[in-house]
Amino acid sequence: MHPFTYTRVSDTREALNAGRGGGRYIAGGTTLVDLMRETVEQPETLVDISGLPLREITVAEHGALRIGALVRMAEAAAHPKVRVLYPVISEALELSASAQLRNMATIGGNIMQRTRCTYFRDVTADCNKREPGSGCAALHGFNRSHAILGTSDHCVSTHPSDVAVAFAALEARVHLLGPDGERQVPFADFLLRPGSTPDREQALRRGELITAVEIPALPRPLKSGYLKVRDRQSYEFALTSAAVALHVRGGVIREARIAAGGVGTVPWKLPEVEQQLIGERPSESLWASAAAKAADGARALQHNRFKVELLKRTVERQLRIVGGTK
């Protein structure tokens, strides 16, 4: 690990000053400390923001939910309102990492976490994300866990978060605070596809701080849930996953919010699948025909072809679990 200076801040103004000066924010630190030890990350200054007052969960009108950036994963998952209003969020969180890590990691840090691509983590390997211009060792390497959607010739790594898949499905908004004031960014625009600049991962400006993630109100009743498929039953990243939220009234699907994880360079929203469902009555054949669209545009690599079919089946199964057949 490279040496770094450490400073603890107690209010956002102090944090922004330190951030503007090039300091790196640290919250839970579960990704950052790990990557610093591997020398993938080499911050010169760590700005400890864990003392900032961003640890509240509030319910706004009509069931919109605002989760403070420093709320721990475990706290968000256990929060009664989150469990009742958005089971998809609490399920995604509780299927992530381990109990220990969920006690440490924060919501803001979770969506900032970096890829688990083994070549990214190995400083001797070529990786455009870690070292722009060096190449992508995963493209023709061992790429079983890599992405099939949103990839480029420069990067094929997945975004590892589960709850980010739920946030993408629910069309969350990321609240940011920077030297120029507050702004909000739709979740779909917050995490960036690699394109030719895979080292640029978020739509953050220098020194900007995530203050909260807001889930907009959705019509009720809303059923939702998260399904995660992986190599072992617990404490493992997704091969594929599906976040599904459905509003069914009068026997007809009025709203659908669906995204997939483990398959995209960013959490992968599935608007075509959503469109197939709107105005239809739940049925086995509807789930199958809608899920058949889930892997549209997929570009499989040598070792991850199985993900194309697995993704469709994951989405179909989760539609059935959430939507039933009546």
């Binding site: 690990m1 040496p3 450490y6 864990s50 109990a99 220990q100």
Partner: protein, 216 residues
């Protein structure tokens, strides 16, 4: 109750000031390894090395910070190299070697400790961030000679073989029971999944957690 201990400073990188005259198992191993000719560089006395000896030998002293925390009821104030993990602070500086270094990457749970009552991975926790924190390690669970019920349950259930993961399993189990995730063997398995046991003692570990949770 907390005992105040005097401040200790960062020890010299090639630290040779073993305070105790009786050799511990650790210093014995380190010394005999050095005598065996394997270790040639400085900094072999792991008990006192906080900074990476290679990097610390550079002319510039790495940035350090002062932090006060409570470990197993004892208030400690130390100045540490900012890079020091809680796990290294416990093991290398406080000589609390119960918490184990397995993966050092948050993937195995052998280093699990309680921070302010919640289970955390000590390997991913920077010590400088723990101002005023209360840390409980496996050494802090027993009440004198009276084992913690979960420690006793691990013996009763024969829940370990090599024992390397056991301190982490036990501390994690204490957290799991406190959180109330012990309603079924399946729930215990899921909520204990952050602790890997390469001997495969999971069935008995689950029984030990069940036994202890059932007594409450």
């Amino acid at each position: 109750m907390s005992t105040e201990l005097p401040e200790s400073a960062v020890p010299p990188p090639t630290g040779a000031d073993e305070s105790s005259s009786a050799p511990s198992r650790r210093t014995f191993i380190a010394t005999s390894t050095a005598v065996g000719g394997v270790v040639v560089a400085g900094g072999v006395f792991a008990g006192t090395v906080l900074a990476d000896p290679e990097e610390a030998s550079a002319a510039e002293k790495p940035p350090s910070s002062r932090v006060s925390l409570t470990v197993n009821g004892t208030r400690r104030t130390v100045t540490v190299d900012n890079r020091t993990s809680l796990l290294d602070l416990l093991r290398e500086h406080f000589e609390l070697t119960g918490s184990k270094k397995g993966c050092n990457a948050g993937a195995c749970g052998a280093c699990t400790v309680l921070i302010d009552g919640q289970r955390h991975n000590a390997c991913l926790t920077l010590a400088v961030r723990l101002e005023d924190a209360e840390v409980t390690t496996v050494e802090g669970l027993a009440d004198g000679d009276q084992l913690h019920p979960l420690q006793q349950a691990f013996i009763d259930q024969d829940a370990f073989q090599c024992g390397y993961c056991t301190p982490g399993q036990i501390v994690s189990g204490v957290g799991c029971i406190k959180e109330g995730h012990t309603n079924s063997p399946e729930e215990i398995r899921e909520w204990m999944s952050g602790n890997i046991c390469r001997c495969g003692c999971y069935v008995k570990i689950v029984r030990a957690v069940e036994q202890t949770a059932g007594r409450k």
